[in-house]
Symmetry: C2
Subunit: 489 residues, 2 copies
């Protein structure tokens, strides 16, 4: 049987994927290459691209094709499910609103970057007010009377709700706080030395290669906020360099290599189709976090120690084990992206509560800084000293990413599950990682999870890879065991 | 009176300009940043963008709007004229052909680059065959029975025909050849020294700034074939570095600064409108060439001498006048982009004849290399030693730019006219340039020509700037005077 509807729909979607890839590349350019004076024009360009994408995602032919299409196989069924989902969301949002959101968030990012550089929250608030207002409008279109925040979160993590996430956070918090209280007073070594930018970037490239990152289909550049971008045969990462802290560049790079490798490792047959992308932000984050933490701050750190010594000379620690403790140093800090594994999820829980309140209308944008600072003092026991260490630290809200933060902790939870399953299946994996050999671990992740892209739902994707349903237990067990071992608790 | 048709049309065109700017940025990325393994996917992305642009340029509403629109002023009339012209061309080309051309040329560029690196003409020919075939198809759609080559050339230089260009070339050739014969045996100094890549790039940035290039709206990167890209508030240039020849980077940079400055200097009110671009390739080239030659290889070279000495130490020439002679050294060479002002147009005349024969069907792609080598030996008295010095040297044909080459010589002709007029109006300009002060010359070009964008036709643009109709006389007079002076003929 010749199913023209399915074929036509897939051809149409493929072209949409190509255009979306162009828009994504434009976003990469904006963060890495674009001259500053082009910001306003770029907003107009992004708005035009968003207009095209919105028109395609709401094209009435999609509903017709979906009505007539018969999938030839299970993969085809997954494609149809993803297309139907995306179409149903898109038709709820007026084109003018989608375009205005693209335009405003494109400019907002520059405003945020400048406000952050100048420590000037007030300069950012009118813009943030606009972004929040537009996203609330969008949420209202999507929610159809339901919860506004859930409607936004569903875009990043299909199936997740604030209620289940909130309940999980409530189960996690006591164990994390207890662990933090046990560890926080303990002495841990620091590395010292001279870490020139050039050497850090060379190390970043070496380590990316050790993790199997494919430089013929990717590249590394500098950006204010590290990110990965693109899919198929072109997925790029960015990093940043702080000369006094070599771990910033190193672990940002490993993190983004995890994201990018997920995209690059998806089966070629799925390339440029709806199922040819990482399935959700939470599952994406599980890959970046397992590369970064369970692997990179675990046995792999013993190998990294040697590579860093070879490049920078003595590091001021007496052994690889000392280096491992330095890499896993626990301390209350301002910056989420620099947080240790014990504190990280506490950062997320705080942002989750604040942004949910913003979107639900329970917190005014004008009160956000005060709310942030009060909550931070309560949760971390430290007073925020400047906006770039507080409410202005993350790019997310400027680009309208409300509902995105909880996927970071979900990613950690998923990474915990994957790590448990991976060690179950590969008993010798840590000895290999300690020698810099990632092939077993990365191969397992590619085969069990990465290559399948969006063929299953997010939680099914994790369950399929692990052989058990995801929950927060494995992550908390891992954290307690790891830090008990490191600190001799 | 509220002219809705005009307003709606201009809003539609503005969005088209924004999308075209995105496609152009994608082309820049391909040449500067794209990982090699992404080439095939990029072809698909470019094809999708071309599909959108073609759909917009052939949108039936344009004809309706054009029928109803009343321009509010002379600038509006120019906009309508440009839109009508572009629409009339676009509707003649089937969408599938436009998309196929974009896809094939995107991939062809990579094939050309690889063939060139490997000195393997045969590896490039099947691709070139495809490109020529598609462009001939396109030309047939446009020409409607007329000359195929004229139909293609008209896209780069509205109003130009092979007959008038050919006649002008015939008038120019004897004087150029006579000048060449007089100069070719004369001794001229060369610079010598150590010119590390980093220093060359730093000099390139310094010189770009001296010419007033606006780095807040542009940037410089490396590419195999230097080019400029983009308009409005984002116009970027590329350059290349040959460590043994500092003039390659220096004058490529100045050349592209001329192109890019033209775009950046167009009146802000015309930004992102059809008249907000350089009016034609010939006029564009007049800006790059007057920056490069009349200015950069003229009095400005006396200042450049000091800057180069400051950066690289002794240059092996005894004075600024000697340096000027080195910069204007005349010798038969293989590479067009490195050719001196006496030989340059002879390169173009050869390409003009060869590509016209290809498009008219008088020369088979399989015979191109032989035809190139025979003609080169005849015109330059030297045998081509390898394809990268011969038929594979230029990117143009791989990306389908047939009919483009003659605009290079047209640009030189226009630059000759502009230089005559500029010196007439600014008697002290050369003393200022000798001190590195370009403000008079660049200011004159901006005011008289650049800022007007596409408000007038190409030849009217030159006539308006100069106060007289363009012809080849001023260029030939300038060349004869300049080289007679330099060589004491």
């Amino acid at each position: 049987m010749n199913n023209h509807a399915f074929t036509d729909l897939m051809a149409f979607e493929r072209e949409t994927q190509a255009i979306a890839a162009v828009a994504e590349r434009l976003g990469w350019d904006q963060e890495t290459m674009m001259p500053r004076g082009a910001a306003e024009q770029r907003g107009e360009e992004m708005g035009a691209m968003e207009g095209i994408l919105h028109a395609r995602r709401t094209d009435p032919r999609i509903a017709e094709w979906l009505g007539a299409a018969v999938a030839p196989d299970a993969a085809g069924e997954a494609q149809l499910r993803l297309i139907a989902r995306s179409h149903a969301r898109a038709v709820k949002i007026p084109g003018a609103l989608a375009q205005e959101l693209a335009r405003v968030t494109s400019v907002a990012q520059g405003v945020w970057a400048e406000a952050r550089a100048k420590e000037d929250v007030a300069a950012f608030l009118p813009t943030l007010e606009k972004v929040v207002g537009l996203r609330r409008q969008e949420a209202a279109c999507l929610a159809e009377g339901g919860d506004l925040y859930d409607a936004l979160m569903d875009d990043y993590e299909p199936g997740a709700t604030a209620a289940t996430i909130g309940a999980m956070f409530d189960r996690m918090r006591p164990r994390l706080v207890a662990l933090r209280e046990k560890v926080i007073g303990k002495a841990a070594p620091r590395v010292s030395g001279h870490f020139p930018a050039e050497g850090q970037l060379a190390l970043a490239r070496e380590v990316a290669e050790a993790y199997g990152y494919d430089f013929t289909r990717g590249r590394i550049d500098l950006a204010v906020h590290p990110f990965s971008s693109g899919s198929g045969d072109d997925s790029r990462i960015t990093t940043r360099v702080v000369e006094s802290d070599p771990f910033n560049c190193l672990y940002s790079t490993i993190h983004e290599v995890g994201h990018s490798s997920y995209e690059l490792n998806i089966d070629r047959g799925l390339k440029m189709t709806p199922a040819g992308r990482g399935v959700s932000m939470g599952v994406h984050e599980s890959q970046s976090r397992i590369y970064e933490n369970q692997i990179g701050r675990g046995a792999m750190a013993l190998w990294l120690y040697g590579r860093m010594e070879a490049r920078f000379g003595a590091l001021g620690v007496s052994s690889a084990q000392e280096f491992l403790r330095a890499v896993n140093r626990v301390q209350a800090g301002f910056i989420r992206t620099e947080a240790d594994e014990v504190h990280y999820n506490l950062h997320i829980m705080m942002r989750f509560d604040l942004e949910r309140a913003l979107i639900r209308g329970d917190l005014a944008v004008g009160d956000l800084e005060e709310a942030w600072n009060a909550r931070f003092a309560a949760d971390f026991g430290v007073k925020v000293d400047k906006p770039s260490n507080g409410v202005l630290q993350d790019v997310h809200w400027s680009v309208g990413l409300f509902g995105y933060f909880p996927t970071y902790t979900l990613g950690n939870v998923y990474a915990g599950c994957l790590w448990q399953a991976l060690r179950r299946d590969l008993p010798g994996v840590e000895e290999a990682l300690a020698k810099g050999d990632t092939s077993g671990a990365v191969g397992w992740l590619k085969e069990r999870l990465q290559r399948h892209g969006g063929l299953r739902t997010p939680s099914e994707t994790i369950a399929h890879a692990c052989g058990f349903a995801p929950s927060e237990g494995p992550l908390l067990d891992y954290l307690e065991a790891k830090f008990s071992g490191l600190y001799g608790l």
